[in-house]
């Protein structure tokens, strides 16, 4: 930072560099202010405005938060999201690491093909993927229809509040795993080969190399995967919303916490205050978890070295 060295202030080339840097970041800063910071600040402000059905709005530091936390739907939505995360995240992490490590261990043409094939489903965006999977889980039109029919015993769609965690996990893995595989594979190839060689010379088995050398070396990538996945997972919205539109009366409109926030803002109540309060609570959870992960994995330690 600038405070560290007063000499920087007077150094002409440095100042020029800073101006160039600013020039590069200016468009981003403007957009961030307009579409990131300003709406967020407005949302924060709204969280303290209590809309009453009759009479003028009131200012309260806690009312909206108390209303949201006391909402009868929040427990169910939170449990749904938790179950989804518990299904999806471990499966995603195990699959992604297994694939990346396998590709790293055997760098063949087959690995390149696998990398490509796992990446392709990610090209289908969230809403389109949701529609695709909606068909997959409707026995009458699904290519795996007979299997679904054997499981549920009826022609009725497999989609329900209870099966959503599983469906979303399958969707999330098929769409997201490929991208992470590519990133982690890249990180693994970045580990100096002499390090791996010396470990092997010291008698480390393949498993020990993975556990004690490779994984610690890509620790911050693991943290990155976790933080992004947790944030995405907690905010799950598009997939249940689209699936619900295609399967009327099978899924709750407040299946996930983020959907509940949306219903506050757009449903029968038009309560922006509660919507903002719940969004802020959701943000607090995500930031809290991110901080824990960053601390536990020494996320920024590489830059310190």
């Amino acid at each position: 930072m600038s405070g560290k060295s007063p000499a920087l202030r007077t150094s002409l080339p440095q100042r020029r560099l800073a101006r160039k840097g600013l020039l590069f970041t200016a468009p981003y800063v403007v957009l961030l202010l307009l579409f990131g910071i300003t709406p967020a600040a407005y949302g924060l402000y709204q969280a303290f405005i209590v809309t009453k059905i009759m009479g003028d709005p009131e200012f309260s530091l806690w009312q909206n938060f108390a209303d949201v936390l006391g909402d009868y739907r929040l427990g169910t939505s939170a449990a749904n999201v938790a179950l989804y995360m518990l299904t999806w995240l471990p499966a995603l992490l195990i699959l992604v690491f297994a694939l990346a490590l396998a590709m790293d261990a055997k760098r063949s043409k087959f690995a390149a093909l696998t990398r490509f094939l796992t990446y392709v489903p990610g090209a289908i965006t969230g809403s389109a993927a949701a529609l695709l999977w909606l068909f997959m889980f409707s026995p009458t039109v699904s290519p795996i229809g007979p299997a679904l029919r054997a499981l549920s015993g009826t022609d009725a769609t497999f989609v329900s509040d209870e099966t959503m965690p599983l469906i979303l996990a399958i969707m999330g893995i098929s769409a997201g795993a490929g991208g992470w595989v590519v990133i982690l594979f890249g990180a693994l190839t970045g580990i100096p080969s002499d390090l791996i060689e010396s470990a092997q010379l010291d008698g480390a088995t393949a498993w020990q190399t993975v556990w004690h050398v490779k994984l610690p070396m890509i620790r911050s990538y693991v943290a990155f995967v976790l933080i992004v996945s947790l944030a995405n997972g907690f905010q799950v919205f598009v997939e249940p919303t689209v699936i619900r539109a295609g399967a009327p009366a099978h899924i709750s409109q407040t299946w996930s916490v983020n959907q509940l926030a949306y219903v506050y803002a757009t449903g029968g109540q038009l309560n922006y205050g509660r919507a903002s309060a719940l969004s802020i609570l959701l943000l607090a959870v995500c930031i809290g978890l991110a901080v824990i992960i960053i601390k536990r994995t020494n996320f920024y330690s590489l830059e310190d070295n």
Binding site: S2, L33, P57, Y72, R73, D155, A156, D161, P248, A249
Partner: protein, 444 residues
Amino acid sequence: MYLGGKLRKQIAIGAAAMLAATVLAGCSGGSAQPAASDDPTAPLLVWVDAERQPVVQKFIEEKFTSSHPGIEVKVELVDATQGTNTAKIALAQKAGEGVPDIVFIGSPDEIASLSANPINYPLALNGLVEQSVLDDFPSAKRCSYGDQIYCLGNDTGQTVFWYNKALFDEWGYSAPATFSEFKELGVKLAQEHAGYNLGTVNGRYGTDAWLGSSGCPFIDVVDPVQVRINLADPKCSRVIDVMAPLLENGALANLDLFDKNYTAQVADGKVVGMIGASWVADFAFKPMFKDANKEAEGSGKYAAAPMPTWDGESTNWSGAVGGGIWVASASTKNKQATVDFLVGITTDIDIAKAQATYPAYIPGAQAWLADKAADTWYAENPSEVLLDAANKVNPADGYVRYQTELLESFNATVIKGNASADSLAQFGEQAKAAAEATGYTVVS
């Protein structure tokens, strides 16, 4: 990143200014807008759904423009999904522009949200629309608070018993006159013709058609902030007494009427009857046969029978499922033209005659029924039954801000769970929670 001290200061000041502006904007946007000064030449903005757009366009070109020369009318297409109109109006109000003068609402419950904070959208029609016209919209009573009426109906979803008369005759069945007979019929159907059903009770069919016709106080609206909910009332338990065993034996279906798996059953002729809205035959049965290329198979079979009577009642009350409404804006800049447009579009006999659903306007309904009488798709003329039912919609229930939540709770407890007195009580608890979450005080 290194920034020059001056630059950093500038950015900080800029950001602070933006925040301040936002906060100020928020303050001014929170309160209701004052009525604008009236301008008899101001253009009108009308929001409609896709189904009504061509009709409205035609009405403007052929009728409204000649009676109101110089007044420009802009028609915007809005998705008819429940809640969309309300959310969009709220946003337009916040933006301070683009608030429609007239809007078509397909899910009439939205009027409960539109009439409350922070929107306060609808224009009270008493005094602006002639009383004789208001009297011809009996269903508008449902969107009145106090002495004021806030909407004119587009169509009415009064329920009747739709049934496959040809099949009933063949099997020696007759349309049930009471719900006890309905229950017996359901038991017999499951025994003699398994795989056939007497309609679905999912969502609004179970609530609005069944609980509604029985007069069960589950959305008995007292005023915009008070609702009476009491699922322990005998008028509710008598519904579950009929519904539960028939859900159990399959004589009643638990799927949404438009679920692909259910429309397939309709097209297969498996749905031999249904307590359904006036539009069910035309809108949910007829097209399904067409889609499945079985048009001839559906034709000449279906008929309407009067609603069965609930035990202990002397009138065979009807329920009401859906029924679109037209609402005008209280903040319109051209009040006279807005009211003229609203009355014009809802009382136009040609439009009423051509629409798929039963017109809410009585003279419109009479013209519509005359057309229906000549429709050979029906096994017999349904006019008399529909007309009778339109006058017998049980007045117990109203429109609420938590309708979606209510339907979800009903499906989760009574339909997907084990239909019983317990599940009905559970539904009552959830309905109470949903009402309180949307700002109602619940009385029982």
